[in-house]
Symmetry: C3
Subunit: 291 residues, 3 copies
């Protein structure tokens, strides 16, 4: 099984799928292709929250604002899963989750044997991408030392063939693939952590806003335990077990399905009601009794 | 085969697919995940018009504004198909269609033997959803009597595992599945019917607006037979066999692919031209000859 | 394998998939269903740039502003691929690419033996589309001489069953299928070509704008060779190998993954920065040295 994740919209993912299916008969499953463009952190969050629910698979990820530059192409083996994508950090949060390492680990702890292995893709050794029949478009080669890939569509020309090669290979012996070379030099990325002080004040930020408009913060859901109300950025809010604990259109704080505090509106958009977007600071504090 | 329908956008459907694929190798087919949010009736319409074209399958449906409340989780066997989703009525119009019951039937007619069977999902008996490797996020259990599901993502934690269990079971003996218990107590939903009086006046409403902007009413298409023009909400319109029977940008009434009267614009948006949205009243009457 | 392309949005593609899956167990792959509505030329461009990367397959294409009129339904065998769609030209640019014919060929050159074969679909001989169980909606037959298809949804009623029939047949002997009859009478379509004069001035137009906002012109990428800057519609621009050759938010000209000159913004929208849309004229000329 190969999953596909990108910020490509339509129809670039289909070109990637064609290339993959030229080389393997794997089942393909879309994680999504309308992630916010060029937003590595948001994609990293959603991958971390989504891929662990899949059975062991190869995961092709292309959110790649640095396409065509000298950023490397990376493969990460994490537990029984294998991740393929640009070396910009997007693969690392989910890789640690898949390997059972929840906390940020300095990169020198990542080595063979503890569940995480990292490889560079040698683009020159990839079998070049070509149409099955007919004439290829004339695309410019990136540069002499990087093989025949285009400079602007490595999803099709680098990551899709690499994912197919990895999928066809032995997941336990990725080092035997000619297109991979082990590395411990890669770009890491950690999602920001919230702080909770002894007075019960939490300082966090908005990690992502989901398609419903739910504002997902990085404050652990445990913050809401045994609270009926909180103050979020100076607004008093009820704490609910689920959206429908408040009337339609009302605001609430709840613990989302990822385990974080969310600021939501029942059947409405929390981002609009709270005027919050990704990266905005969120202060939570205990609500004093009102009577 | 398992089809998937939701109002989830991206990437929550992928988490559902991962859970399903942990438990079964079924072919997955998306019906769509950008249905209007929290809109049970619109989803019910599209399911009724779409699922009957599939071969016998399990259909996973999550349009669920009551997630996390005490609404039940339902399985309906209808003809050779099996439907899995929240007990909010969304499954019933398509279930009746699949069972060959076109008209609204009072619920005490729904019993084993006439093509429709209904079951409650016992959430406590579902195998809990867990990541395949690594560490699960810490999600709050709903409540002691409902098992380990999160309170806000039953698509992942309840309906996906239930759909996998149903798909792996014997569709003719669903009652043998430990996670299901027969019930005749469920929320029903009927789409509104139009009335046509003896003077040829039809009073209906807008059932849905499709992605082209075509305004699909609940007036049966037979209303347009042997009419060349009609009056729709006081506007005179030509009746066409298809969009291109009028010039590009012009309005017309036609019979849509679902068999209802549609108010359309050739290569344009009927909803904007007619200023109509879901639920708006539509009055149709015969157009007097103009000369 | 059957790929699917349309301008249908949600959920009409699912009805097509259901019909196909009633008749064949083929792997289904979406090219996309949110192509610009009624825009035959844009779909033709994306098909030409995408389908050649697939292994030999049947490609179901429905961008069909003339649905329900007397336009024909077409099958084109091109190399090892087979295309199914409306006779409005949408299939021809990719068909020529798949057959290795890059330039526009007058249609009397298209005959059996040179890699392209064209067939009309005999709609009366298609097995009628019906729900698997239950009751069909009452849809109006188009007209007596065209079989039982609806007038507004030939994707479901004509092209899906035709694609299934073609996929189940022998791709090298399509003429043996009862539903096909050879023809050399069809609507052709050629994408416009740019002109480059001896002074190094190129006159082209915007072919498409992709989902990133990149403005893809029809000027061959070779125009940018050995140029560091160009004048595009009176604006001086740097020529880059890739987006990130200029700072985030800056404009550039580059060669896209299709081999054409693109006018782009690094991590931004070129269409907005250049105020260009599909069909707009683009003049490129050499940039005089600035010092």
């Amino acid at each position: 099984m190969i999953t596909l994740t990108s910020d490509f919209g339509t129809p670039y993912p289909a070109a990637m799928k064609g290339v993959v299916l030229q080389r393997t008969d794997a089942k393909l499953v879309d994680v999504g292709h309308d992630f916010p463009r060029h937003d590595v952190r948001t994609a990293a969050f959603w991958l971390r929250e989504t891929l662990p629910y899949f059975p062991p698979a190869t995961h092709l990820v292309v959110v790649d604002p640095g396409v065509g530059t000298d950023r490397d192409a990376l493969v990460v083996r994490a537990g029984e899963h294998t991740l393929v994508g640009p070396d910009n950090g997007v693969l690392l949060p989910v890789a640690r989750r898949l390997a059972g390492e929840d906390d940020f680990e300095p990169r020198d702890d990542i080595e063979s044997g503890n569940g995480l292995e990292t490889f560079l893709i040698d683009e020159q050794r990839l079998e070049p991408v070509e149409p099955t029949t007919g004439t290829a478009p004339v695309v410019p080669a990136g540069s002499a030392d990087r093989g025949p890939a285009s400079t602007t569509f490595h999803g099709r020309d680098v990551f899709a063939p690499a994912a197919a090669a990895v999928h066809e290979g032995d997941p336990d012996r990725l080092e035997s693939l000619a297109v991979l070379e082990p590395t411990d030099d890669f770009v890491d990325l950690a999602l920001p952590e919230a702080t909770v002080d002894e007075d019960g004040c939490a300082v966090g930020e908005v990690l992502v806003v989901d398609d419903f408009g739910n504002v997902i913060t990085n404050v652990p859901g445990s913050y809401l335990e045994s609270r009926d109300q909180i103050i979020a950025n100076d607004d008093r809010l009820p704490v609910g077990d689920t959206f429908a604990d408040v009337p339609t259109g009302d605001r609430l704080a709840t613990v989302g399905s990822h385990g974080y505090v969310e600021l939501d509106v029942n059947q409405g958009r929390g981002d609009e009601a709270f005027d919050l977007e990704v990266g905005d600071r969120v202060d939570l504090e205990s609500a004093p009794a009102t009577d």
